[in-house]
Subunit: 226 residues, 2 copies
């Protein structure tokens, strides 16, 4: 059983990487900066996106691909903000893959876009293994999940260039040592940018917006003049 | 790609069910009540177990199998409470399976035990698809994850006979409609028992303890007289 399983998983990952690479070439040709946003269920991915749309209004043009097992709740929340959004329902699948993104891209008008955010299925494990063609992976961890999570789910933290620690407004009411999160994450990935924020109060979000803006500016340089 | 993947997953699930069935026969022969405890990362599985060990001390004998990608933190927390515990590290794997439990059982002294709790990997998606041989599946959802989670992760809530809504002490500080959680969960599984608790303050835990005790008493009737 185990012998049967391992080669198949490798094939899936290889085939996925080819599709992800095609997605990335498409983003690069458009001068579009793309991120893959991952977290546990309920860590605040969609709330961060709502805040980001508001915070960057007039500063850059973005679109969102939402991934969920079921419902189109999240895409509806984004559409209400006046931003292009497409919902992928995986029908039980535990992660997005390159093929799903390729299909979803056909539903978006990509011309003149600066930023594409792909919100993955809420899962701190499986999405870490599948590239989607994004330029950067971003993980959100909410302080209510506990300060032992980087050590317990290391791959997600190793592969993400940004860690957003969310819900810091709840720190007075819980037992969570935010320094422990920082030090565990830094051990796994010394170059990771860490932003401590509250999507509820808005605290700390400006640094995140600046990070996005500087990455978008970098990618814009590659955009073909029309 | 998709055609290749689907039959393999079916084979894995079938093979797993056979191993799970063997585990269950073993539990039944011992008159041992076994549960599979599942949730997102950080919803409070281990905290619930710590509270349960304390709350049921002297009332029943329990053991714990801990599942994590990495670390033995959780098993150590349980061992400190004076309860038998064994840690499974899946090394990146997103769920426990029947084979892992079969192997872990050999590390436990099962004679005279009343209750076995299997704490699955923190993941609200994949563990729902793999039976371990447990008699009941129990899901924990923390209110900080948001009130839309049953609708967004329906399988987990459909298959669980018990839903424990944890961290209710944080309700005054967040936007979460606990009635929405109840109604969504009841739509998915009308027979589900729902307990609202705080593992931090201890509120609401007695109903959960009573549920465990009555299930243990039922299973004890099958226990062979020695």
């Amino acid at each position: 059983m185990v012998q049967l399983k391992i080669p198949v998983v490798q094939n899936i990952l290889q085939a996925n990487d080819r599709l992800a690479e095609a997605n990335r070439r498409r983003f690069d040709a458009l001068g579009l900066f793309a991120i893959n946003l991952m977290s546990s269920p309920g860590a605040g991915k969609t709330s961060l996106l709502e805040r980001t749309v508001d915070g960057l209004a007039g500063r850059l043009r973005m679109a969102v691909i939402e991934g969920d097992l079921q419902t189109s709740n999240d895409a509806e929340r984004i559409l209400k903000k006046g931003v292009q959004a497409v919902q992928i329902n995986t029908d039980g699948g535990c992660h997005l893959d390159g093929n799903m993104i390729q299909i979803a891209l056909d539903s978006l008008d990509l011309e003149g876009l600066d930023l594409l955010v792909i919100e993955n299925v809420g899962n701190l494990v499986c999405p870490a293994e599948f590239n989607l063609g994004e330029h950067q992976k971003v993980t959100i961890l909410s302080v209510t999940e506990g300060d032992d999570k980087p050590a317990k789910y290391p791959l997600m933290f190793q592969i993400s260039s940004v860690l957003i620690v969310n819900k810091i407004d709840l720190l007075p009411y819980i037992d969570c040592d935010i320094e422990k999160i920082r030090s565990q994450a830094r051990q796994l990935n010394p170059n990771q940018d860490i932003f401590e924020v509250s999507c509820r109060t808005g605290e700390g979000l400006e640094s995140w917006f600046s990070w996005l803006e500087s990455n978008v500016a970098e990618k814009r340089k590659d955009r073909p003049r029309s």
